[in-house]
Symmetry: C2
Subunit: 123 residues, 2 copies
DNA sequence: ATTATATTCATCCGACTGGGTGAATATCTA
DNA sequence: TAGATATTCACCCAGTCGGATGAATATAAT
């Protein structure tokens, strides 16, 4: 549940074009809030909010130096997301492979054609 | 912009534990709305809403057969998300590599230590 | 001490979300 | 025809989002 909750936050943080652009910018290196906000038409405050959201998801880290706040990327959450996706894709591929194998089997084919597909997998 | 908008929808659709569980279930094969809803404590209507959201993001496809609605996975959006993440991770790795190379350089080290890190990358 | 810069805090707004309930629709079955 | 099943539609509610604005805070520079 905790892991899922973290994934929730990470996915939600990534579900915004502006925030993804901020992350892409940060991939070029550390940057201050003002630097990050510069290319965007929206207000500095809005960018600040976006950054807070990215922080909450653990995607960026903040380092204070005087009045300047330096942001940098954290890759762990992104790796977790990638892992989930890969697992999902693998499961999907396995299912496709199973279907393929089934279709190559001899007697099951007729039943499959008469019936409506895969379905009854669980209970 | 259109691609970004699609990514927005996909990420948003994935930013929910219930919806991710639905997708995982669908990885086992086609299923009806009722079948998908069975394991969850929430109402059937809520599940129906989640499914609609997954459909909007293009993550599932619906096939009608009489009064039954059969859902199945669509992998394209997931692939797009994976591609974005991989690009991001690659950029981040490149930046790390550049830093590493810089630290192995001779004269830049002093300036780097005195100054505050990477920062001034863009302008 | 004063001014300028960097950033956040406090509010407000319209829009959307996730959950619920009850009614409506459509299809299958007896 | 009547009844059961599968699914959605139409609302309601509290919570959050993304954007804006204006004020507050903290640090730096003069």
């Amino acid at each position: 549940m905790t892991a899922s909750h973290k994934l929730d936050d990470t996915f939600a943080a990534l579900a915004d074009q502006t925030r993804r652009a901020l992350l892409a910018k940060l991939a070029e290196g550390e940057a201050r809030v003002t630097d990050l906000a510069a290319p965007f038409a929206i207000s500095l405050n809005s960018v600040s909010k976006h950054i807070r959201r990215l922080e909450r998801a653990g995607l960026v880290h903040r380092r204070l130096e005087g009045r300047e706040h330096f942001l940098s990327l954290s890759t762990r959450p992104l790796n977790e997301v990638a892992a989930w996706i890969e697992a999902q894709r693998r499961a999907w591929s396995d299912q496709l492979a199973a279907l393929h194998e089934m279709l190559q089997g001899e007697d099951d084919v007729a039943k499959l054609a008469g019936r409506r597909g895969l379905r009854r997998v669980k209970k």
